[in-house]
C-alpha cells in the first residue's frame, strides 16, 4: 500500500502535467513571436516545483528566478494569468509589465521572479526576516539555479539566515547548466551541499526528478524552519529539456544526454509509474488529467490572445506611490 494519499498524487501529477503542457505550448508560441523577449522553459524540472510547493502552505512566501513558470504555476497561479503575463498583456499577473521573468503577487506569497541571478534568495531571506519579526507561522523559500550559487549575494543571504535562524528554505533548482556552462566547470568543490554545510546549515542533495522526495525534504525543512531552528538548503538535481532561452540549441551537451534524461528520468513518467503501481491512479485517470491540463492551457492561450495590451498612458503609474510628491 502506498504511503501517499490519492488526493496528493492526483494533484501533484496534475500540477506537473500542467507545467509541462504550459511550457511546451509557450515554447511554440514564443517561437511564433507571440511572447516578447522569449521564455526560459522549465520542461523537465516539474518535480522540483511541484515537490516544493506541495509541501508549503499557500501563504508561505517564495521568491524565484528568471526561470519560474513552474514555480508560479505550482504555487497555484492560474495558467491564464501566467500566460497572459508572458504575452505581456494587462491581464497578466504583473499587469504585463513583468513578462516571463517577473511573475509575482505578494498578496499570494509570490515575491517575484527575477532578472538577476541570485536575487531571489536575498529577497526570500528578507521575507523570512519579516516573518520572524512578525512571529508568523510561515516559511519563505528562495529558488536559485546551479549557476546562481556562484553569486556572492546568495551566500551573504544564506549566512544571514543561519545566524538569525530565519525560516528560510533555499532550493537549488539544479538543472546542471547555466546557459551553456556545465555546473562542474564553474563550481569550486563541485558539491553545493558541502558549501552549505560550511555555512552551518543542513544541506541535502536530492533527486529532483522524484516529486515525492522533493516534497519530503521540503516538508522536513519547513518543520525545521517553523520550529525556529533556521534555514535548510535543498540541492535538487534536475534537467532542462530545452535550451536556456527559447529556440537555443548549442553544442554544450549531447543529444544522448538529453534523450537519456527524457527517457529514463522524466519526472512525470516516473511518478505516473509509481502512482500506477501503487494503485493511486489509473491509466484512464492519467489520460483524463492530460486532457484536462491541455484544455486549461488552450483556454489560457485564448485568454492571453484576447486580453488587451496595457494602457500606454499608464507608463508613469506605480513608479512610486506619489505620496512623497514625485510625479
Amino acid at each position: 500500500m502506498s504511503n501517499l494519499s490519492k488526493e496528493w498524487a492526483h494533484s501533484s501529477l496534475r500540477g506537473m502535467m500542467l507545467i509541462r503542457e504550459f511550457e511546451e505550448t509557450a515554447d511554440k508560441l514564443s517561437l511564433r513571436g507571440k511572447i516578447p523577449g522569449g521564455i526560459h522553459n522549465s520542461s523537465g524540472q516539474e518535480a522540483v516545483a511541484v515537490g516544493v510547493l506541495s509541501a508549503l502552505d499557500p501563504l508561505d512566501v517564495i521568491a524565484t528566478t528568471h526561470r519560474s513558470h513552474h514555480h508560479t504555476l505550482a504555487k497555484g497561479f492560474s495558467a491564464r494569468e501566467v500566460m497572459a503575463e508572458l504575452f505581456t498583456k494587462s491581464t497578466g499577473v504583473s499587469r504585463g509589465r513583468g513578462g516571463s521573468m517577473h511573475l509575482g503577487d505578494f498578496h499570494r506569497g509570490h515575491f517575484g521572479g527575477n532578472g538577476i541571478v541570485g536575487a531571489g534568495v536575498g529577497i526570500a531571506m528578507g521575507a523570512a526576516l519579516g516573518i520572524q519579526q512578525r512571529g508568523d507561522a510561515k516559511v519563505s523559500v528562495g529558488f536559485v539555479g546551479d549557476g546562481g550559487v556562484n553569486t556572492g549575494r546568495t551566500w551573504e543571504a544564506i549566512n544571514m539566515a543561519v545566524i538569525w535562524k530565519l525560516p528560510l528554505i533555499v532550493i537549488i533548482d539544479n538543472n546542471q547548466y547555466a546557459v551553456e556552462t556545465f555546473v562542474d566547470r564553474v563550481t569550486g568543490g563541485g558539491d553545493i551541499a558541502k558549501r552549505g554545510e560550511g555555512f552551518g546549515l543542513p544541506s541535502y542533495t536530492i533527486n529532483g526528478q522524484d516529486v515525492v522526495e522533493v516534497n519530503e525534504y521540503t516538508a522536513k525543512a519547513r518543520q525545521r524552519a517553523l520550529a525556529g531552528e533556521g534555514p535548510t538548503i535543498i540541492n535538487a538535481l534536475t534537467y532542462r529539456y530545452y535550451g536556456h532561452n527559447v529556440g537555443e540549441k548549442g553544442q554544450y551537451r549531447t543529444q544522448d544526454e538529453i534523450l537519456d534524461w527524457k527517457t529514463n528520468r522524466d519526472p512525470i513518467d516516473l511518478f505516473i509509474a509509481r502512482a500506477t503501481s501503487e494503485g493511486l491512479i489509473t491509466d484512464s485517470e492519467v489520460a483524463a488529467l492530460r486532457d484536462d491540463v491541455k484544455k486549461e492551457v488552450e483556454d489560457a492561450v485564448d485568454f492571453a490572445e484576447k486580453s488587451p495590451q496595457p494602457d500606454l498612458n499608464s507608463i508613469l503609474v506605480d513608479v512610486d506611490s506619489g505620496l512623497l510628491g514625485g510625479k
Partner: protein
C-alpha cells in the same frame, strides 16, 4: 532655527535617533539593521540607545554583507515591515547596487506593490580617503523609483526621517559626515517635513544659491562675506533631490535671473546639471545669464586633508560664482 539655548539642542545624529524613536512608538514594524548598531549605536551614534529602549527586535547587528543587508530590508519591506537599512558609509552601497537599483527601486513598478524601505548612510567629503568620501546622490536620484533625502541640519534630519518612515516608497537617506555633531533645534513628534519642498535658508535680493547638504554651510559663509560687499544672496536648501522642488527652483530663476547651483559631488554629471538644465529650459527668458554650477573636481578624494578640501567647493569659489551671476 538655532536658539540661545544651543547647548540643549541635539546633534544632527541625535535628531535622527529622535525621529526614529518617535516613529517606532507609532509603528512597531520599524526596525534598523546594520553593522555595530546595538552597543555602539552605529558609527555616528545615529541609533544609540534604541536597542536598549525598544528591544533587540528593533535593532539588528548585521554581518558585513551589504547586498544581504539591503535584500533583508527589501524582503521584509515587501512582507510589510518598515526597515531602515543602515549602510554606515554610502560608499558601501556600491556592494548593494543591484539590490537598490534593480530590485528596491523597480518592484513597485513591476508588481504594483509598495516597498517601504529606508536606506540610511553617511555621505560626503571629509577625511578617510577615496573609499569613504563618495558622493553618490546623483546615481540614486537618477534611478526611477527612489526618493533621495539630503538634510543639512538637525531639524530637517528629524522631520525628513519621520516622513520617510511613513512613506510606502524606498528612500535613500544621506547624512553628511561633517554635520554629524552639529547641534540644532528639532521639531516635535508631529513635525514632519515633506519631501520635495525646499527650505529658504536665507532670503536675498540679488541672486540665489541652490544647494543641499554640507554645501549649505559653505553657502552661508559665502553669504556673510558677500553681504559685507553689499550683495544679498538667497540660499535655497533643496532637502530632497528626488522629488525635487522645481517650483522653488523655477521661482528663484524667475525672481533673480541669476542663479548658482552648488554641491560637492564631482561636477561632471552631477545632479546640479539636472537642476541647471531643466531650470534653464523652463525659464530661459528669465535668465540674465547662464546658471553657474559649482561642484567638486573630477577626481577621487585624497586622504590628505588639504587635497580633500581642495577638491570641493570653497567659500571663495562660492563667492566668485555669485559675483559672476550678479555681474550679468
Amino acid at each position: 532655527m538655532t536658539t540661545s539655548t544651543q547647548n540643549q539642542n541635539p546633534t544632527y545624529s541625535e535628531a535622527f535617533q529622535s525621529g526614529v524613536r518617535e516613529e517606532i512608538y507609532r509603528n512597531r514594524d520599524i526596525f534598523i539593521l546594520g553593522t555595530d548598531l546595538i552597543e555602539r549605536g552605529g558609527h555616528f551614534a545615529q541609533v544609540k540607545g534604541i536597542a536598549q529602549e525598544f528591544g533587540f527586535q528593533h535593532v539588528k547587528d548585521s554581518p558585513i554583507s551589504e547586498a544581504a543587508m539591503v535584500s533583508a530590508g527589501l524582503g521584509a519591506a515587501m512582507y510589510g515591515l518598515h526597515p531602515i537599512i543602515d549602510l554606515n558609509f554610502i560608499d558601501f552601497s556600491l556592494g548593494a547596487m543591484d539590490e537598490i537599483i534593480n530590485q528596491a527601486a523597480k518592484i513597485r513598478f513591476m508588481f504594483g506593490q509598495p516597498v517601504p524601505l529606508v536606506i540610511r548612510a553617511t555621505s560626503g567629503t571629509a577625511l578617510g580617503g577615496a573609499h569613504h568620501c563618495n558622493s553618490l546622490e546623483s546615481l540614486f536620484a537618477h534611478t526611477a523609483g527612489l526618493a533621495v533625502a539630503v538634510p543639512s541640519n538637525a531639524w530637517d534630519v528629524k522631520g525628513l526621517i519621520k516622513t520617510a518612515l511613513r512613506s510606502p516608497d524606498p528612500v535613500i537617506f544621506l547624512m553628511h559626515k561633517k554635520l554629524s555633531g552639529v547641534r540644532g533645534e528639532i521639531g516635535d513628534e508631529n513635525t514632519l517635513i515633506p519631501f520635495g519642498k525646499a527650505r529658504t535658508v536665507k532670503e536675498g535680493k540679488h541672486a540665489a544659491i541652490i544647494t543641499y547638504g554640507f554645501t549649505v554651510v559653505t553657502a552661508q559663509k559665502a553669504a556673510v562675506a558677500l553681504a559685507s560687499e553689499g550683495i544679498d544672496v538667497e540660499i535655497i536648501d533643496l532637502r530632497t533631490l528626488y522629488p525635487l522642488d522645481t517650483d522653488a527652483i523655477n521661482s528663484a530663476v524667475q525672481r533673480f535671473g541669476r542663479v548658482v547651483v552648488a554641491d560637492e559631488a564631482p561636477m561632471f554629471g552631477s545632479i546640479t546639471a539636472e537642476i541647471a538644465a531643466t531650470a534653464t529650459e523652463a525659464n530661459f527668458g528669465s535668465l540674465k545669464g547662464p546658471i553657474v554650477r559649482i561642484g567638486s573636481v573630477r577626481a577621487p578624494i585624497s586622504a590628505n586633508p588639504g587635497m580633500s578640501e581642495a577638491a570641493i567647493p570653497s567659500v571663495d569659489a562660492m563667492i566668485a560664482a555669485v559675483k559672476k551671476v550678479v555681474a550679468y
